[in-house]
Symmetry: C2
Subunit: 309 residues, 2 copies
């Protein structure tokens, strides 16, 4: 019965729902007015595995769980939809409302509705967020499979900051710091993803595992070779090296391919939504591979750098 009371408190904390949510939490299911096409992604984070309550407040956990899920919607170029949140909570965890508060603040800023969920008890804090994004047509979305030989490879923002922040946290650094904040409170690039899709990207993915690994996902899905120039990687201030920035992950920037003639439109789309584009590579014909090249053009093997995975 404690769960029921908590569910009521969480429902109250969600506040009013946007108009497209016809029935929010409280019925057997939430009911939402649909657009033509639905994009959906589910992500789970577990205390001690994906984050630590020792270094993250409950609000950080809520923010991050929702942000990382929404980043997948951003990478599809879909518009903001709903989030459905399932919490597994140990009896001693008292931060549920603060956790949901962290989600609510982020959701509100991006026009995402917290439209439903579940709260149960269990031996560890685990947060599963299922997010939806809407689009008027399937061909307006950006898939991993659309990269074509001759395309350019681009990425938004700066890389490595989240990994550097995690290193600071693991070293016991408690000072609030831009890098630590970057790790605790990643920002999903929903508006940017939508704008990039409209500006003509051919393929897109969010950078959750590091550029090197995520470029591999794009390359395999598209059946192309992606050449990445380490020297053109946008390395965040305070990050030790381009190699670290390419492998640390958790940046939640958007990486994409586009034909050269869309270059200016894409740069403008990024700037109009508060970020910038770095062109860090090229797409060649070939079989699902990534080639990382150093400043001298020679291949670089980054396998030794995957220290955070």
């Amino acid at each position: 019965m404690v769960e029921l009371e908590l569910i009521e408190a969480v429902k109250a904390a969600l506040g009013p729902q946007p108009a497209r949510v016809l029935t929010g939490p409280g019925d057997d299911a939430s009911v939402v007015r649909a657009d033509a096409v639905l994009a959906t992604s589910t992500d789970t984070v577990v205390d001690g595995v994906h984050f630590s309550l020792a270094t993250h407040s409950p609000a950080d956990v809520g923010h991050k769980a929702l942000a990382t899920a929404l980043s997948d919607i951003a990478a599809m170029g879909a518009g903001p939809g709903e989030a459905y949140v399932a919490l597994v909570m140990p009896p001693e965890f008292t931060g549920a409302l603060e956790l949901v508060g962290g989600m609510r603040e982020l959701a509100g800023r991006h026009g995402v509705a917290l439209a439903g969920g579940d709260v149960v008890s269990g031996p560890v804090l685990a947060v599963t967020v299922t997010v939806t994004g809407w689009s008027g047509a399937a061909d307006r979305l950006a898939y991993r499979s659309g990269a074509r030989p001759g395309d350019l490879l681009g990425v938004t923002g700066e890389l490595g900051g989240s990994g550097a922040g995690l290193k600071l946290l693991n070293a016991g650094e408690s000072q609030p710091d831009a890098l630590v904040r970057r790790h605790r409170r990643p920002e999903p690039l929903l508006a940017t993803g939508l704008a990039l899709a409209a500006a003509g990207v051919t393929a897109m993915i969010d950078v959750s595992d590091g550029v090197a690994t995520d470029a591999g996902h794009l390359a395999r899905a598209s059946g192309v070779v992606l050449e990445v120039r380490l020297a053109d990687l946008p390395v965040a201030d305070g990050v030790e090296s381009a190699e670290f920035a390419a492998t640390a992950g958790d940046d939640y920037e958007l990486m994409f391919t586009a034909p050269p003639e869309r270059r200016a439109a894409i740069e403008q789309a990024a700037i109009a939504t508060g970020t910038r584009v770095s062109w860090l590579g090229d797409v060649r014909a070939g079989g699902g591979l990534v080639e990382i090249r150093g400043p001298d053009g020679a291949p670089v093997d980054l396998r030794g750098y995957e220290h955070l995975r």
Copy 2:
């Protein structure tokens, strides 16, 4: 990387997707062609809290986690949609493919697509299932809030069987038995829910907490008094009493209200979808209460019977 391999194996186990799933697992998000209105529900079950691997096979767990989530879609009267499955698994759990197999078998039978998910490690087996259902219009769905004074209260099938099965399991009874099967493999009434909504129910809910508790949810959401006659409760064979059947829960039958003139249409809708209706009460004007009456018409207090919650 083990997780990635497992995700690949799970993807392969899902088999082909129905045509409305434009992009299944493997991109940043799944993409589905929408109908006008989306109903969504999320449910989490945790080993040792909601089920026990000591008494449930991995396939039972998969079946049950999906079935209980789909029961919420059935209770809305929505058509089958997609399921998104997030698994938290301890390293020693080896039943992931069997668990997904249990889901796949159930999903296939109901026209539900297993369209996406996540697999992560953690200290306990926890399964979160987010299910969608589609409808051509919001007013074709059945909500908890639509019961009106003068309506009849009905329920499908038989009650108490799952609770009696759980009692057998807890007593160490390992014989395969209809009651045990009923507990391990509840069947979501998707076709029945859709047919009942079309036949004119005014409110509907699935019986997950027992008729007594779930009638309370309907009564409060609708702002009415529900009178329940214990003598008219459809008690499953092998269940000790109507009191047990009214409180044991986990039956996943559908309880609903409807005006008397819809009675025949509703009975036919149930029969056409393989079940039957028992009329077990009436709706009166009043303030969100349930009155349980014994065979002599006197009020019955069931609070002492909530032994399984």
